[in-house]
Amino acid sequence: MSSSTTTVRRLSWGAGARWLVLALAAVYFVGPLIAAINFTVKTPGGGVSLDAYGQIFAAPPTGQIGFVEALVYSLLLSVFSIALTLALMVPTQILLHLYLPKLKSVVEIICLLPLVFPPVVLVVGISNIYKAVAPQAGDDGSPLFLALKWARDTDHPLLLVATYSVMALPFVYRTINTGLEALPLATLVEAARNLGASWWTTITSVLLPPLRTSLVNAGFLCFALVMGEYTVASILLYTKPFPVWLAQLPAASGQEQAAVSVFSLLLVEAALLLVSGFGVKGSKKGMP
């Protein structure tokens, strides 16, 4: 009897604590947002105006690309980064889980390295590679240099996509690993092979659907990373990625800058909700 009373009391205290934590978190996260919104709609006379938001779609004054173009550029960057990371990690991890379980810890350590080294170190490494293959005097560049030069081009920034894929490895590794560990992988693969499925069908029809939630989560993390990444893009002299573009808006229009931030934050938030809704709906279908 007494033990059940304490359980109940502990539970109710637990519920109270949860609400408290939630409220504090809400203040912490929503507070600044409200302050920012407030700042963007205030006029010098004390009134309220949405002019700053109207400015977002107006052509930027200093020859910069527009808001939409910068945002789309970053969205595409994140899409390609997600695709590259998943294309690398999904087959690798399936292979590890099925045939090379002893190498799992080695690969895990490698994948966690980007957490240990700050992005700046990564950039230094990249620029050193470029320096090492750069043409000597009287030389017009090795094929490797030309390929790397091509990859750096701002119209198809493969270099940036590859860098972001590396930076996303720690998160992507974890989420896919968790998803795979929850599956009886070897049995599912053997069942599919036994029924005559090719490797391609086995992976796409049998293994990927139950991994959907993991993949969506991995995509999430990658997306958030790319949409907010400033250091690498700016040091490598890219101007189109959204965070760089935002930082380079003329400082005079502080209100407009804040409006762009708020607007893009809400946009990204909406995109995340959309994707998560999609992931949850998919996972409800067949998974316990």
Binding site: L183, P184, T187, L188, E190, A191, A192, R193, N194, L195, G196, A197, S198, T201, S205, V206, P209, P210, R212, K285, G286, M287, P288
Partner: protein, 354 residues
């Protein structure tokens, strides 16, 4: 597709292991296995855990390759054929249904892979689910089905591709006793109906004897004996088989001439190695082969286990190992705990163990 149609295309092929060895590092899982599965029969691979049953089955399915020796299906060496091309239906020990597919989609998977049109494979899936008694559950997902139902779906899925061989790796071991017995009978019924050559792996001797046309008893990667259940039980060829299948008493005896032994005061015919007359031997005798009679001296009843149709008594006697003896229900009253009994033998051949 009716069952007769399935049958027409799936009449059994034979399968054969020829001196197959499979070595994992320092572990020899199969040590010269030679065994033939006859067309259309249900053969049980029986043996203790770790004796190589699963390894043998996986060699048939193509998930693994022998270190040496050959695996033949329908008389042809299949060593170069990948698992996906072998057309073998396998049911796994652990639940193996594809978690994001409904029961019907699971069953239809093998047909989808073979390019069968949607309508046709749906119809076949429903038909097979009805065959395993799950017609009403076609749209359910694996996590909505019980363990027994999942294994039924797995069976239907394996049968859908009209397999050349049906391979079952301890398909019932995760189920509780009642479901296990039910499904055992059902697998046997369906197998007989379809006539598909079937290999079932089990460590449960009762299951093997109840289901199989023939039982192959394995021990440490080798075949001990392959025979029909009655022969296996009544005329085991090795002590291992005798003691693994059912229960045996080890009784001291003395060899006589003409391959007979004297045991418990009787002279009986003996299987196994012949011995020089007068040599001491150990003889294996089943509890039901012992005949008890009330007596004033001799063996004493020390324990009694009710087993339904009969009761198993434990008997002690100074200078002898304990004996187990089965007594019919109507005679149990003659042998309460502490009662004395004389022990005789039915006149059937016994096996000399050593």
């Amino acid at each position: 597709m009716t069952t007769t149609e399935i049958r027409a295309t799936a009449t059994g092929v034979s399968a054969e292991f020829r001196d197959v060895r499979r070595v994992f590092g320092s572990m020899t899982a199969l040590d010269g296995l030679t065994l033939t599965v006859e067309p259309g029969e249900l053969l049980a691979l029986l043996g203790p855990s770790g004796c190589g049953k699963t390894t043998a089955l996986r060699l048939l399915a193509g998930f693994d390759r022998p270190t040496s020796g050959g695996v033949f299906v329908g008389g042809k060496d299949v060593s170069g054929v990948s698992a996906a091309k072998r057309d073998m239906g396998m049911v796994f020990q652990s639940y193996s249904l594809f978690p994001t597919m409904s029961a019907a989609d699971n069953v239809a998977f093998g047909l989808r892979v073979r390019g069968v049109k949607r309508g046709a494979r749906r119809a076949k899936a429903v038909e097979l689910l009805e065959l395993v008694g799950l017609g009403a559950h076609a749209q359910k997902y694996p996590h909505q089905l019980s363990g027994g139902q999942q294994q039924r779906v797995a069976l239907a899925r394996a049968l859908a591709i009209q397999p050349r061989l049906l391979l079952l790796d301890e398909p019932l071991s995760a189920l509780d006793a009642k479901v296990r017995e039910q499904l055992r009978d059902e697998i046997r019924r369906i197998q007989t109906e379809l006539g598909v050559t079937t290999v079932i792996v089990t460590h449960d001797q009762e299951e093997a004897l109840a289901m199989a046309d023939r039982v192959a008893v394995m021990n440490s990667g080798r075949l001990e004996q392959c025979a029909d259940p009655a022969t296996l039980y009544q005329r085991p060829s090795t002590a291992f088989v005798a003691e693994f299948v059912g229960t045996m008493n080890r009784v001291a005896g003395v060899a006589e001439s003409d391959g007979r032994v004297r045991v418990l005061g009787h002279s009986v015919a003996a299987d196994g190695a012949t011995r020089a007359p007068g040599e001491d031997v150990t003889v294996l005798v089943r509890p039901e082969s012992l005949v008890l009679n009330p007596a004033l001296e001799g063996w004493t009843v020390t324990a009694s286990t009710f087993r339904g149709a009969n009761t198993r008594l434990r008997l002690a006697n100074a200078g002898h190992d304990d004996l187990l003896a089965d007594v019919a229900a109507h005679r149990v009253g003659d042998f309460p705990l502490g009662a004395r009994a004389s022990v005789a033998l039915h006149d059937a051949p016994v096996l000399v163990a050593s």
